[in-house]
Symmetry: C2
Subunit: 641 residues, 2 copies
């Protein structure tokens, strides 16, 4: 079994990612703390911490915010935990300890923990699993507590969530006196697996498995739940409930396509992968492969995002990938990365990391501003700010990052992801080490009782040169280095001498007795074209630009308005232009194409004087950086000529 | 002042329109009668007539259907009235009389008439003008009664609506004891003008004017109304109300752009045009021109439809014309045609009729199946049936016409429009006659005491040959014949001799002393290309096909699947193929282009083997006829090469 290296042992210092990771302790975590305390003007009030204080009986007032508001504090604490692993900060740790204590005081005597139901509807606990999000919030509490325990060693939070988990394990299950239900929003499942791995308490694993296996059994739990007398609907838009929304349309072992709400789907699939690994359940793993392939081949945007429909934030059908009305939630890309990480770890297939990297370098990165205090929830591939108006089919698309959201799942998810980048870089097993991502860092790990120090040096993705320096005492192990799918022309050298290595399952493998050695891997990162499958109706004849793991886009700032009028000449050379001044240093791609001349005719269509294509220069920047220079048009898929 | 000729004097017998108009008395009206009586299996139950019986105290049960369900009966009666004008049918007239009697019995003693409020919320009358639709329904009752009086001469229905209108005039107005409000959904305004024209009762006109002028004054009536204690919301989606939705964001005389719900907008503009005409109000007319131009130049689809956003069924911004997620409600095109008809009549400018004709021959025609019993509510310009799934951003788009709708405004509106086509054909004033549309018919009219018989013979739009035979007794008048905007090359002949005529304000004018004369007008109807303004982001580089007043589209039946993969070569000749077997005879346009070959790669995007364009034949049919051969893809705007 492979495992990620513990976060506290992976010290990232990377020219590319520093501009985000350095923000987290200094800017993002303090900013989000202010938000959770309702101290940022003009941002939707969170009330998140206030709700806990009311539940703890320490403040009066009405519990406010979404039904799942508690989870914002949980994800913030998870981000804090990871951040403390990278950069100790006693004052921050004290603040976190205080929040954890507060959460403990807000917990009920039997372990129940949820301010929405405790305060507003105490008689309705566990009675609206469809919409209530109690188990979802519990999952985030557990993930946060697990992270906090792993990085600080402190057990107080763990004790709180174990009481909660114990209550859940007692409440849900196959026995007659248990509820035969499962959460409307998956999350508790993967969290219970984490808690099982930390605590060894088998009942957590059993309940995770129960939740996964029970989902979609007939009669559908949610449909039946809604029929019960006294059922109180929380979200009016679900009066016509479609079980596919919560992946409960079929038992998970019969599902072939990724359906419904995209975040729910990938969180569920994470748990399925975890269970497949722990139980060596080949059937369940095969199901994960089928669902993964359906997403990645047919239902994922080139930017590594998912969720084609703004309404219900959901998957739709194969090849339906609209650029300007999609949802592509930041959280969904995070879930996709977590799912891919598990699949790569379980199967040892590095091609899963291609997608993880696609999500991280593009959509997840786009989710946060370079200042750290503005966020995208929805990640379109084409934006025309003028038509992103309220109360319209495009009201979910924001042309600029926002301070916060009424439903604010993404910003804290972004924070916990950026602080836990280290978990993606390495897998270790008894025979060696896998290097997945090229993020400069230093680490040390223990291999069968022997200590190994490793230093990875790179300016990736500016270049594809990766230097791996290993210090060990004559230890034999396999070093697996991922070669990205886009890199056809890799080469490798050991201590300065070229070595012949073959790429297998996405990695090259160097078997060696390691002492004081240096590996150099190199591959080309030249700009390239990506073609849309003509089955994607929205993109027929269109081309996207990419370089390394980064997808590029056109922005109005560089190319003028009306980007859709531009077309790209696939024969024209793609030139690289390193711009140290831009976004803290980035590669710009320049090429030539045409632009349809603006018509003198004001009419939206006409019969005379067809628009004339005129020569145009195109200048593209990484999608992950779009929208950092004010509102303007943005376009990923460009018409071919 | 120009007027349309009375419907009962225009006898249509037209090879193009017969396939619809002949359906109305034989199929559409009986089918809709069955619907209104809840006798069509698998169609959403209407309960419309049942509601009236309950309100009349003749049946028990719950009042069901939308808040504006009453208006379905009104529009059905209006269609019956027009149908009786064209084709007397004593049995149908008896049925209509019975319905009118029933409506009378459902009316309250003070004239109030609305089954929703009478039965369900009698204490809330006139208290939710934002959503209540009482005035909207009243408007449709009045329009129906006016039509029924005009074609049957019977006054019973008129008496009912005059009682209702009297109550409205008493209830609404500037006096202290009156409500200073106006309807959330305009319709009563144009109806009150109609009733004024029939009755001469000035208070109807005054109240119509009050409603129009009061709209948008500060403080906004709807915003204030919603704040009142006890206000009960009917539509949850309006909790964040935007006054632009109901065109109440500004006083109408300050509005420059067509905003909000498209049907509401054009119904309001109709009333504004009526008032401008009656009061010779140049400022108000100029406002109508500004709003008209904004729609037609920048916010109208090439198929003559309006409403770019599925959510809120509304206008969005200039040049935002999405093909596959638009609303383009059938009712909105009907309203646009009614607005254009008024503008042409008032200004004498035939170019307004270009748009009326565009709406009638394309979207309004598309709204009904060739069988008469299936309807489109939403009229997309691009359909991929697979992605039109429930609970998604495209759930409003139906790839096939429907039996009926929960909100069923369009089918009865379609029926009343097709039965009143005659009103669009002619305007008469003291000096002569205007011929607007080329629909074969015979008519007779009186001009300053002299009788004129006119017979218009044509197979338009198969050809552009129009023969006008006039029989009169040496009467001098001007005959104005509209030359459509697309017809550059018209010619005219009087009694076989070519005459030189100039097109002015959309018409040619022949001044003549008419006796037994024949005018021949001819223009070319060759297929042509329409280019999208590059400002329409969704259509950059795309081309549409048209011929005469008809916009064409590609259908999967003729062109195979994945229509978006096709592109059109603008240099390739456009060939006409008359197909007598198809849809009762239609012209097909054939041309050549390319189709992107289907990829062997299942992935939605890839970096090798770009899709290859292969030669393809394109075969286009009129948009108005799409979807009459089962579900399949459809596409109006085709990529250029």
């Amino acid at each position: 079994m492979k495992q990620s290296l513990p976060l506290s042992t992976v010290h990232i210092n990377d020219s590319f990612w520093n501009r985000y990771t350095a923000l987290i302790p200094n800017k993002v975590i303090p900013y989000q703390w202010e938000i959770l305390n309702d101290r940022i003007p003009d941002a939707p009030p969170s009330c998140c911490l206030k709700n806990f204080r009311i539940a703890a009986g320490e403040e009066t007032g009405e519990r406010k915010g979404t039904v799942f508001q508690d989870s914002d504090a949980a994800k913030w604490l998870e981000a804090v935990a990871y951040s403390l692993a990278g950069k100790p900060d006693p004052q921050l740790e004290k603040t976190a300890d205080d929040v954890i204590d507060l959460i403990g005081r807000a917990q009920e005597a039997d372990g129940y923990l949820n301010t929405y139901f405790s305060l507003k509807y105490p008689g309705e606990k566990w009675k609206n699993l469809t919409e209530g999000h109690e188990l979802y919030c519990a999952g985030h509490f557990i993930e946060a507590a697990a992270a906090y325990y792993e990085t600080t060693g402190k057990k107080a939070f763990l004790a709180i969530v174990c009481r909660l988990a114990d209550l859940i394990c007692k409440t849900f299950g196959p026995a007659k006196d248990q509820i035969h239900g499962y959460p409307g929003h998956p999350e508790i499942e993967l969290a219970l697996v984490k808690l099982y791995r930390i605590s060894g308490n088998r009942s957590y694993l059993d309940t995770a498995k129960y939740f996964v296996e029970e989902r979609g059994q007939e009669p559908n739990y949610f449909i039946e739940e809604m029929k019960r007398p006294g059922f109180r609907r929380i979200f009016p838009e679900f009066s016509a409930y479609d079980p596919a929304y919560s992946q409960s349309h079929l038992p998970v072992r019969q599902q072939d396509t990724a359906e419904g709400h995209a975040v729910r789907a990938v969180y569920l699939y994470c748990a399925m992968a975890d269970l497949a690994e722990i139980y060596s359940d080949k059937e369940l793993l095969e199901r994960c492969v089928i669902l993964w392939n359906n997403i990645v081949q047919k239902r994922m945007f080139v930017t590594g995002s998912i969720g084609s429909s703004g309404f219900w934030e959901r998957f739709t059908v194969d090849y339906d990938l609209p650029n300007d009305s999609n949802y592509s939630e930041t959280c969904a890309s995070i879930g996709l990365a977590l799912f891919g990480l598990r699949m790569a770890r379980i199967t040892g297939d590095g091609s899963y990391i291609d997608t993880v990297e696609r999500a991280l370098y593009n959509t997840i990165r786009a989710g946060i501003s370079l200042e750290g205090d503005r966020y995208f929830y929805v990640n379109p591939l084409e934006v025309w700010p003028e038509n992103c108006i309220k109360h319209s089919s495009r009201s979910h698309v924001k042309p600029v990052r926002q301070k916060w959201f009424d439903c604010a799942c993404c910003p804290t998810n972004e924070a916990r992801t950026l602080t836990s980048l280290g978990q993606y870089i390495y897998f270790k097993n008894d025979n060696g080490l896998f290097i997945n991502l090229f993020i400069q860092n230093e680490t040390s790990f223990d291999l069968n009782g022997n200590s190994v120090n490793l230093s990875l040096t790179t300016d990736y993705p500016r270049t594809g040169k990766i230097r791996i320096a290993i210090k060990a005492r004559e230890i034999s192990f396999s070093l697996h280095i991922r070669i990205p799918g886009f890199a056809d022309d890799f080469s490798a050298a050991l201590n300065g001498k070229h070595i012949n290595v073959e790429k297998q399952k996405g990695y090259i493998t160097i078997d060696h007795i390691w002492d004081d050695d240096e590996v150099m891997v190199q591959f080309s990162l030249k700009p390239r074209l990506i073609y849309a499958n003509p089955l994607v109706r929205q993109n027929c004849g269109k081309i996207a630009l990419a370089r390394g793991p980064e997808i590029y886009c056109l922005e109005e700032t560089d190319n003028g308005g009306n980007l859709s009028a531009l077309s790209l000449d696939p024969q024209s050379p793609l030139e690289e232009d390193w711009r140290p001044d831009l976004f803290g240093g980035t590669m710009v791609i320049k090429t030539r194409g045409k632009k349809l001349a603006q018509s003198k005719n004001p009419e939206s269509f006409f019969e005379k004087n067809p628009p004339k294509p005129e020569t145009a220069e195109l200048s593209a920047v990484p999608y992950g950086l779009w929208g950092n220079r004010g509102a303007g048009e943005m376009l990923v898929w460009i018409r071919g000529m």
